[in-house]
Symmetry: C2
Subunit: 257 residues, 2 copies
């Protein structure tokens, strides 16, 4: 297995530009949200009020580019970024060096990729990894607590789990509180406003047999991107869905090291 | 025992202007810090990084005057307030209605008064209550994590505890994580930079026999006032030390209801 530093260096050189799912297993991966400082209080409060989709791993100071969690430059060491202007998706880029501002505040938010190795270790297959897809993510009707300009509904990631392993998946993910923890919904996508599992709002559709496997939904760190569409900050930068910051921190919750 | 609403009404009418120690026992009391929104992100981060002196009970939106924790107006329903301008203490007032601004963000921070009833219920005498004094508080040399403009050392409250009851006081206060929890120091004031227990920086000196009782120090919600002296925000309003917001929330940690 490659070390996080080496993987991030490949990203910095723009040699690796794909999803981070399955990379550096056992290391904590995080979502990234970067905002001008004028929005930072509202967003920090939004995260505190919605810890399930937005579990804070680290809040960086204005202008800070190297987090405590990783020997990384957050402007270059993720594989892909998305830039939103006035609440609209503007472009997807491989680094954000050109658009960086000294008043940018960056939030690192826990990611369900962190517990995927634990799921695998628990004997739970990950169909999106087997099918080499970005995990499918969906907008839902699950409302969030608003904070200042930020409000909206939760985004979830979906993993289909063989029926007899659903309880096991619950128990394992429940240990990872800083990475969204236990699922927010199991079973019926329509109950949380999802019409078609084959048409995800982010990521890619994954094949599974609905007679054999149950869709399980976890709160997702793409939620802030959804909230930004409504809050319309002048500028907001995030990781591209599925393309995370890989930190240098081993998750202490893994039973198999 | 009077209900919090009635006690706060007496404060609103400026009939009760003294310390809240021992009032409405069992109800959560909080420190208050109010700042213009431009400082709110730095301060929220400061609290998150220093949960022992600054355990957040509630963060209010900009301009919000009625908290969730109490059917109260935070501009009038504390007995006494302190106004700091440019990091200097300006005045102590009985309400802040005249100076209120729509961009003010208010933070409610846990207070050790909350667990005082539990200490009493555990057979631990509270000398400051017996002597009708405001609990003595001290600046220390215990450093804090900085956040933006906020930095400084911890302020502690001191209660002298009969020697054979110190362990009991530890165990009881440890249950109250949102109200500073267990002590930060026991025994030797000089080890945390306190020269004279009879000269507190805030509150009033309390008499006790050092052969019979041990000074026990808890992290104190006056800490932000100390940090403000260094950060020099243009405006900062706090409760006066010892003069708290009494909320409508019963602390679930009391064993005796």
């Amino acid at each position: 297995m490659m070390e996080p530093f080496n993987v991030r260096t490949a990203m910095r050189k723009e040699e690796h530009t794909g999803t981070t799912s399955g990379l550096c297993e056992g290391y904590i991966q995080t979502n990234m949200v970067t905002l001008p400082k004028e929005y930072a209080f509202d967003f920090l409060l939004f995260c505190m009020r919605n810890p399930k989709p937005c579990p804070l791993v680290e809040v960086m100071e204005a202008g800070q580019t190297v987090p405590q969690a990783a020997d990384a430059d957050i402007r270059t060491d993720l594989p892909r970024y998305r830039i939103y202007r006035d609440g609209k998706f503007a472009e997807e880029v491989l680094n954000i060096s050109d658009v960086w501002q000294d008043d940018f505040v960056t939030f690192l938010i826990g990611c369900s990729f962190t517990f995927e190795k634990a799921l695998l270790d628990g004997g739970i297959p990950l169909f999106h990894q087997e099918q080499k897809k970005v995990v499918p993510m969906f907008d839902t009707t699950i409302p969030l607590e608003s904070a200042g300009i930020f409000k909206g509904n939760m985004v979830v990631s979906m993993r289909a789990v063989p029926n007899h392993l659903v309880d096991q998946a619950l128990a394992i993910s429940d240990r990872f509180e800083q990475s969204h923890g236990s699922p927010v919904h199991i079973g019926s996508p329509e109950e949380i406003g999802i019409k078609d599992l084959q048409s995800p709002d982010y990521g890619q559709a994954v094949d599974f047999d609905p007679a054999e496997a149950t869709p399980v939904f976890w709160a997702c760190g793409v939620t802030p991107q959804n909230a930004a569409l409504q809050a319309k900050p002048s500028m907001m930068i995030t990781h591209a869905p599925g393309h995370m910051l890989i930190t240098d921190q081993l998750d202490p919750n893994y039973k198999n090291g």
